[in-house]
Symmetry: C2
Amino acid sequence: MSSSFQSIILKLQNFWADRGCLITQPYYTQVGAGTMNPNTFLRVLGPEPWNVAYVEPSVRPDDGRYGENPNRFQLHTQFQVILKPDNGNPQELYLDSLKALGIDPRQHDIRFVEDNWEQPAISAWGLGWEVWLDGQEITQFTYFQQMGGVALDPVSVEITYGLERILIALNNAKAIWNEEYGAGVTYGEIRRQEEFEHSKYYFETADVERIRKMYDLFSAEADACLAENLIVPAHDYVLKCSHMFNVLDTRGAISVAERQAFFRRMRELAKRVAESYSEQRKNLEYPLLKESGTRHQVSSNKPLVTKPQLPSHFILEIGVEELPASDVDSAYAFLESRISDFLNELHLDHKDIRIFTTPRRLTVSIDSLSPNQPDREEIVKGPPADKAFVGQIANLTYTQAAIGFAKKNNVDVKDLEVREQDGGKYVFAVVKQKGKPTPEVLQEAFPKLIESVKFEKSMRWNDSGVSFSRPIRWIVALLGETVIPFEYAGVVSGNLSRGLRPYGSPEIKIPSAEKYLDAIRESGIVLDKEERKNSIIEQVKQSASLVGGEAIIEDGLLNEVANLVEMPTAVMGAFNEEFLQLPRDVLISVMKKHQRYFPVQNKSQVISRKSDQTFDLQPSTLLPHFIAIRNGDDIGIDIVREGNEHVLGARFADANFFVREDVKLKLEEYRPKLATLTFHAKLGSMLDKSERVAKLVDEIAPMLSITSNQLPMTQRAAYLMKADLVTQMVTEMTSLQGIIGGEYALRSGEQKDVATAISEQYQTVPKTKIGLAIALADRIDSLVGLFAAGLAPTGAKDPFGLRRAAIGVVQPLIEHEAQFNLLEVIKKSAKTQPIEVTDETQKQILEFIAGRLSVVLKDLGYKHDQVEAILAEQSANPAACVWSLNQLSAWVKREDWQTILAAFARCARITRDQKQIFPIDEKLLVEKEEKDLFAEVKIISSQPFSVDGFLKTIVKLTPAINAFFDKVMVMAEDQKVKENRLGLLQRIVQKAEGVADFSKLEGF
Amino acid sequence: MSSSFQSIILKLQNFWADRGCLITQPYYTQVGAGTMNPNTFLRVLGPEPWNVAYVEPSVRPDDGRYGENPNRFQLHTQFQVILKPDNGNPQELYLDSLKALGIDPRQHDIRFVEDNWEQPAISAWGLGWEVWLDGQEITQFTYFQQMGGVALDPVSVEITYGLERILIALNNAKAIWNEEYGAGVTYGEIRRQEEFEHSKYYFETADVERIRKMYDLFSAEADACLAENLIVPAHDYVLKCSHMFNVLDTRGAISVAERQAFFRRMRELAKRVAESYSEQRKNLEYPLLKESGTRHQVSSNKPLVTKPQLPSHFILEIGVEELPASDVDSAYAFLESRISDFLNELHLDHKDIRIFTTPRRLTVSIDSLSPNQPDREEIVKGPPADKAFVGQIANLTYTQAAIGFAKKNNVDVKDLEVREQDGGKYVFAVVKQKGKPTPEVLQEAFPKLIESVKFEKSMRWNDSGVSFSRPIRWIVALLGETVIPFEYAGVVSGNLSRGLRPYGSPEIKIPSAEKYLDAIRESGIVLDKEERKNSIIEQVKQSASLVGGEAIIEDGLLNEVANLVEMPTAVMGAFNEEFLQLPRDVLISVMKKHQRYFPVQNKSQVISRKSDQTFDLQPSTLLPHFIAIRNGDDIGIDIVREGNEHVLGARFADANFFVREDVKLKLEEYRPKLATLTFHAKLGSMLDKSERVAKLVDEIAPMLSITSNQLPMTQRAAYLMKADLVTQMVTEMTSLQGIIGGEYALRSGEQKDVATAISEQYQTVPKTKIGLAIALADRIDSLVGLFAAGLAPTGAKDPFGLRRAAIGVVQPLIEHEAQFNLLEVIKKSAKTQPIEVTDETQKQILEFIAGRLSVVLKDLGYKHDQVEAILAEQSANPAACVWSLNQLSAWVKREDWQTILAAFARCARITRDQKQIFPIDEKLLVEKEEKDLFAEVKIISSQPFSVDGFLKTIVKLTPAINAFFDKVMVMAEDQKVKENRLGLLQRIVQKAEGVADFSKLEGF
């Protein structure tokens, strides 16, 4: 029997009410998520307990699809649960609630997929998961770490169900519309017309000027409330601001730069609300903190029952809630490198160490771990001998210092020995350490070991205050049959592991360490990652071959998927062939990034792909199939398949919707709308930027040897390059910017080279010259404009990605070996900017680019000193730098290099402090050696030199230089003679200008 | 065991879900009531069925009490149910839902108290009730008749539970704050701080300018949505406008005049939304109209089983849902006057007719109703005899006309008779009518009888389309033991009545009409209203005497209460003595108007009270007790008492809150705030008005013979008179304006006379001169200003109450016998107005006042012609009119009146068409009679006359006048002589100016 929407709500309300939650109501202001409701946003702050559940119809204007998408709407219905503090098994409670709804985990594929939740507009973050039901995200599950800028203690668990998607899954439906809402009325009958109207309103009708004014009024009113300490009213206006922002965003009226300002403002307000609330609750003495804070007490470790007598197998299994894929790897890497040292430091003998990691367990397996530390001696240095004894040599007595030292080291004072060390005499104690039993040693050492496992992001969850990637829920620590008892993060170690999630994580009693691997294997878990990978590859290949295709198996995806499951089972599904008309990149991106599916393509037309070459204008060779990897066995596999097919269908329908809407206009027709996108308040709209870039391209083209044939295409590409930013597809999937532009260019009848260039513009190194030209113009325009607007990166902050832009200038110039004059281009760009770009700023920009160039060059293997030497003179031309470095590094490797460098150095050092360049008066040349040198200098070419050219000249001059310095007194008493000689040397040194600053070289 | 707030919600959701309702969610925009949610506002439109239930947290800013009131808050939680169409027993369903919550109707007093719901802002109305639980309003129950200006078909039943109050009642609590919300947390812990903050925001912090701007923006956005036919988004903005309006109102920033404009605008938007939605659903072909319209089929009347043979007792009982008290009376009056005629028209003999009415039944009892109509003859006139026959006199044959006539009347053509009538000969048919059995006659006649019962407001409820005061749910129609079977409004008559509401309205089988009264009495119902009244009086008196007091029993209240119950039982309760410090009028007003309680006062200090003298500055003699009348017996009477005590306590706490807040400032300090209250856009603020009135009072005072001692107090009273309009107490209970001003004036240390005058200002006739002066100034200022602004009343429309103002000018002048010159005062007021008041307008104003004066005078018993005669000359001085009318009416009663009037008339008629006044040249007097008349005329006083003076003069002149007309030819051929004679008569007629226009008198 199929479920109704309202029955889900009623069941969840009853479920959570029965489990001690308050049941409250949706908020009376449009919110993007239940998190914004004060029952979450405010109540998670501070120490008071709070358990609540409520429905929240959540409004996300840009998710509007005019009622055409099966599961995406501007309004979706969340069911929000907050558990504060963590009750110890929130995941199990959650899975129980799904069972209460009729979702049997054995019939479905339920997964906890990493989700680092972050809401910058309210300065909040947390770690947790999206919960997937057969590939469909049905819930967000988060351990809140911070809200409104305030760190949370205790941490709250937030469970946010997506009710529409749950109904779809429950009823195995393709779309929500024909499913029952309740009382025999369908969801569509109630909401579809309204969905259409709101979508149209948000995308087309909302008046941008009026909405902006509303935002300003709300924002001012929030300030007024805060000034009076009216926290909930203030919060309400912050929410209204947020909604207005979302509407503006949906109307495409907010640029990247403006977005920052909006977020800053909203974040500031949210922080003030959170801080004021925290203060208020404190002043009210936390009325809900009814029981006296029974904070967690660490229980004392249990005594050991038995101690093994012989070397035994050892197992440590840390059982966790699902780890992010990358954390599975980093934990593996850490343990792999650490355990051996760890055991050595503990003086514990052992044989093979093996590490296993899955999303739910980190296992250390050690063969033949010694039951004891060996007994050992340690020599401890004490006070100097003369401080240790007093009295006659025949009748020495121990001083207090000696007695204290002996006592401290637990030896008899008479056993102290006198030895020489570092030329002095000291007393030494020979400390005999009795080896401790291994369990005792490990008991003490394990907490520190686990603590030392670090992750890129970690979280707290309970009052132990411990941080880890995700909560630790059990620990197995067995030496043979003996449990090593310790407690960490509120968990006491034991011999109970847990089984597969889809089987309900049943307890698995591990009788002994030796039997661990078998027990785990028997429970269906594939502990070894390589084994999981191989299994996936095999299953995926086999599945693909069933439809005569070949799976696209990228290493990254394979690795990730292997870290998402403990028991991989491939499920192949199909999608509607009509979607194959979508750009190939869109299809792959959706399957891979969003769904972690392996795409399937026609066997005969495999196209090799490198990571940075994700664009291909070839007609797609994809087949309408995908392969998902389920966690678990094949029970209910058809339900799982259908569920995944519905999800992918909905996602493709979404993309299709955008593309269909978008191609109603030609790409060119989008360009004027760039006027509504602010690039930056001081720098105008994206249309203004686009026009500057088009001008700059005209200047750049000749430098890149673009032919007169190519020029019109280059100009056309520059003209159109940003137009896709205002298409719906790019608004939706920003990562496809450029790619979509290229696709749409082709569909609009533009030339292929134009389309290709557009599609390449965001690649670090565009392949084509036209792509290179427009990318460079775009990046240089950004650098020049934003620096002039005072937005140069500072410290770690680089909100506009200017470091990446600078790399995007130098890297392609190097790879294309394009001779270029950055300074000149910066100057030209400066002239096109709407604000003044001072010479000083231009210099800063060049220095900034040079800084990036320096990094790039060092990454290419060039030596630091050589890079610095070349950059000092040639930083404006990155390709030339590489050419010069190649020459210079060859010179430095020559055996006579020190001689050559020394000859130049003699000239350079003596002249470098001179403030002026002295003329040479031939008549003032006195000595033969200076006349000889002058004769040589006179015939040096007046042309600019390459490194090779210059150094060859120095080689040629070296004898004359050395003779000159050996015989001639440069610093003559006669001022004129002295200046004449300095002038002569300056002629030589000057020639290095534009080549390199050799003084920066090692050995100078 | 006490209930929790959330358990009530969960139970109601489950209850209504089980009864086929959709369960939806609160709306995501602040609404004042669940009615505004589109699931009500839109879905009740059109023919589609719709059954829905949802929670709606409802925001009413001006109900904010900073969390200090036990049951009044700016946010209260509604549970809204819509049943469309009416399912036939919505009240029973509702009462079942209360049982599901644990409210046993036998333990409580549950009442359905008339409530004519109207929401002008959305052009909606309906009829129904407030449901009272032990005196507490816990639910609104309405049959919607119109929404957004669209008439509803079918009608929807709306049930709106007030959840906070239900929880208070369920837990027999004094206040909501310490009751459990759920999960061990109290309502106060969750909401009280927030309640404080929002109250403060709405009353103090909200920025009026910004809120106005928001209103304008929302309003413009609503227009934009409507232009695109985006109905739900438009509705959303209408709701936002409405909330902004409420905030402005709470800030005291909206004047009466502005309010109208706001309402107009919101109404217009709401109508457009409703109309567009109706259109849209029609175009969609009403998707929810799934079953083919099974509209109600009128079932054919059942055949009679037995027919009585002898005169029998007859009973008709129309069983209804609770009627409004006034409808109980009007139905009584109608039936009382109608039934006898009704039976006569039906030719049915009978003896005594008695009518009984209660809130739930209208009963007609007839003694000895004949079982049959008598047989009877009727003479029907046919065609003229000469058209009826053709042929020779001896051989007449019938024409077709005659044959047709005979056939039509069902007589043999040969039986036609020829008779004379009106001087012509016609054929006549003697139609013999066989008397029908009474049941047959009544069966046909009753539907029409019931249809003819009219009410001030009536409603439809089901698809019969019938209108009645409230739904008809059963009909008893018994002649002896025989049911008279008919159907009306979808109800089939029978012999089943229903018992008392608190007993669950059990079915009562009425064995025969004779036994009806006993059966009803046995069921506990007091059918006779006088009996109910007497019972109430007796119980109330007895109760009051228990506390040594005396109940204040006003007829109006007694009558109303007697119409609210079928079984009256008095319940005496007490309230906190501290509330006795509140103004007596506030206390009485709350008890009487809001709660229908009888107040109790100290026996020794009874003060007589007339309806228009509701103000008394004597210290209150009230006792802290009240007497409520419960419907039902005394089971659970203590619960009922406590419930009523809590309700009254909360209401007094509310008043106390206002008074306490208000008296923090002196009355004088409120005056400047009048600047924020717009009187009218063209006429400035209430402060501006107040200043004009103060000026005008200076002019008026001398006319009212105000002494120089009184003058400063008069000025002070005028200065302060409007200040209370911006106090919270008056904002809350507008009916107490003036009274509160007086009270606060005393508390602010003003002189008693000043306070009294302020308190009297809204009485039609203030008792004191000072009160009179300021009231007149106020009313005249309104009349002058608003007429000048073009807002004179038109037709039935009088939004500013100018008719009442005009009556309030003339009535007190009459009662105070104050000589006054209205024209002069209007002129003076005109000079103070900010806009031009033309002479024409001033004349209109005077005419308008005269129109009211005319009505007042006729109401006083003066004859129409005399009133018109006096008003024609003295309308500017109402008191003088009365004085003059008294004299005139005495004259008219004289026996010689016709002679006196005739004498004057002779002078007046002949001169009245003359365009000019002719001089008298004594030398041109020829005849003796004209010389004599002239001699008499010469000595008439030149002083203005009274009616008496003038008519005495006429009496004196009469012989001379008559002699003059008998002998002298006025219209002489000599023009000069003629004009001289006319001039002489004109002197006489002129003297009537300023006295009366005697030509308007009867007999002139």
